[in-house]
Amino acid sequence: MKRKWRDMEQALGFTVLRLSAVIIIVILAFILYDVFSKGAGVINWEFLSDKPRKGMTEGGIWPAIVGTFWVSLVTVIVSVPIGMFTAIYLNEYAKQGRLIRIIRLAIRNLSGVPSIVYGLFGFALFTLMLNLGLSVISSGLTLGLLTLPWTITASEEALKTVPRSYREGALALGATKWQTIRTNVLPYAVPGMLTGTILGLARAAGETAPILFTGVAFFWPVLPKFPQMLSQQFMALPYHLFIMSTQHHEIVKVRPLAYGTALVLIFLIVLMNSVAVVIRYRFRKKYKRV
């Protein structure tokens, strides 16, 4: 009798877990299906390579793709080195104590701050105070800040997975601390760091609020040219999508274009996540015996 109840309890538990997983997958599949079925029709070479024309009722999204690319690049350049060095400092050098605990807590909390707050902050700091204006740079820096908590946390986790015995082994051979980190810790942590960074970046690439305050333009058909574009406004995929689906004067007419934009954005983010997964998989395989 007791046995039976235990079995039932277990079956019930598994069913709940399985159901939750199924619900997630169904929702995801539904979103993908919706976007795909309504957006795939407009995807062609012209859509990808042309600028929007005729009040954005025709043409393509190329400037938005390029804009998202450049902003993401600035984001990476800001976020990766600062994030990695911070993580190295926190995990390898800092004396663990109350100060470090407070810093960690602050970082944790930063990752929960709504993105629109980052937008306002970026606007105040980069656009106004540092006089960087509405530009790719301002937006990239703002998104850099937004992703920083992710980069730091992911990098720290990656450093923690490197066994202590690698560090001890190197130190015992007369390596300095920095030599140890450089030659016997970082090489094994970098793939994990990259994975976390890419995931953070994928999130940043889809953000609207932070770039809204700091540089994204409703319509900026001049194709950005390096380097002067860094100080100019730009178009970006998430904002373009927002405009097309809520602010456009012929909203029904441009709906397919909006779905097409969404599809491209989703594709880019899935692509980035896949890269992260591949890196992680390779890394696991290489060191699974350790």
């Binding site: 190197a170 051979l173 007369g174 016997n184 350790v290």
Partner: protein, 252 residues
């Protein structure tokens, strides 16, 4: 008595508030093997790691007293710890090859010490692997991952890695604890060979091993050095009852 290359004076060690080593005074003779024995948790590893300041990297630890190496206290402020660890090498309880090739594992110490001459490095790698009785087994696959070696081979690789930078003293923490009798015997023979060139301090749980390989034996119990002397005397004619009980296997 020969010259003491390394000795401690009233050495105390604390993990935070925990007093792990109590007033240890003992010395290691050059080109001899000193064995550290005692029940689990008595402080053997802590003592060994204090001798090349590997405990420095554990936060919240503290020492009192002196450890004299080559006439100087290694815990003095101005001591270069990096340099100290080059002279006092260490083989860990758990073999810890780096996830690099066999060659790069052995070359690692040379590399970080600034050696860039390829032929010097290659010579030293061969010499060290030979010294660790591993050369014949790996000479055809030096570029293969060290993680694919067997446990005993990995342990000998770690010994070779320590030998490559030509330390004066080698500290070994239960180097044979995870090995089969044949691999263990190889390590013991190796220790016998190494004695000619190096001073060795070895931690072991195996009484026969201590009796076979060491010249001196130190018996630790609950952080204290209970008895220290010639291995033969410790095993045949210990002064203290506690030591006798331990070496004859009546407790521990």
């Amino acid at each position: 008595m020969d010259e003491l290359i390394l000795y401690t004076e009233h050495f105390n060690f604390y993990y935070g508030n925990f007093h792990a080593l109590k007033n240890i005074s003992m010395g290691m003779e050059a080109h001899k093997v000193t064995a550290l024995i005692g029940p689990s948790g008595c402080g053997k590893s802590t003592f060994l790691r204090s001798l090349n300041r590997m405990n420095d990297i554990i936060p919240g630890t503290r020492v009192e007293g002196k450890v004299i190496f080559d006439g100087n206290d290694i815990y003095e402020k101005n001591v270069d710890v990096v340099d100290l660890r080059r002279k006092i090498g260490m083989v860990f309880q758990k073999s810890n090859p780096f996830p690099k090739s066999i060659f790069d594992n052995v070359a690692y110490g040379l590399y970080i010490n600034g050696e860039r001459n390829k032929s010097i490095i290659a010579d030293r790698v061969e010499e060290s692997l030979t010294g660790a009785a591993l050369w014949d087994e790996v000479k055809d696959r030096l570029d293969k991952s060290a993680l694919d070696l067997s446990g005993g081979q990995q342990q000998r690789l770690c010994i070779a890695r320590a030998l490559a930078i030509k330390p004066e003293i080698i500290l070994m923490d239960e180097p044979a604890s995870a090995l089969d009798p044949i691999a263990t015997q190889k390590i013991e023979e190796l220790i016998f060979e190494l004695k000619n060139e190096y001073t060795i301090v070895i931690v072991t749980h195996n009484m026969q091993q201590a009796a076979r390989v060491s010249d001196f034996t130190a018996f630790f119990y609950l952080g204290e050095l209970i008895e220290f002397g010639d291995t033969e005397r410790i095993f045949t004619n210990p002064k203290l009852k506690k030591t006798e009980d331990y070496v004859t296997g009546r407790f521990g």
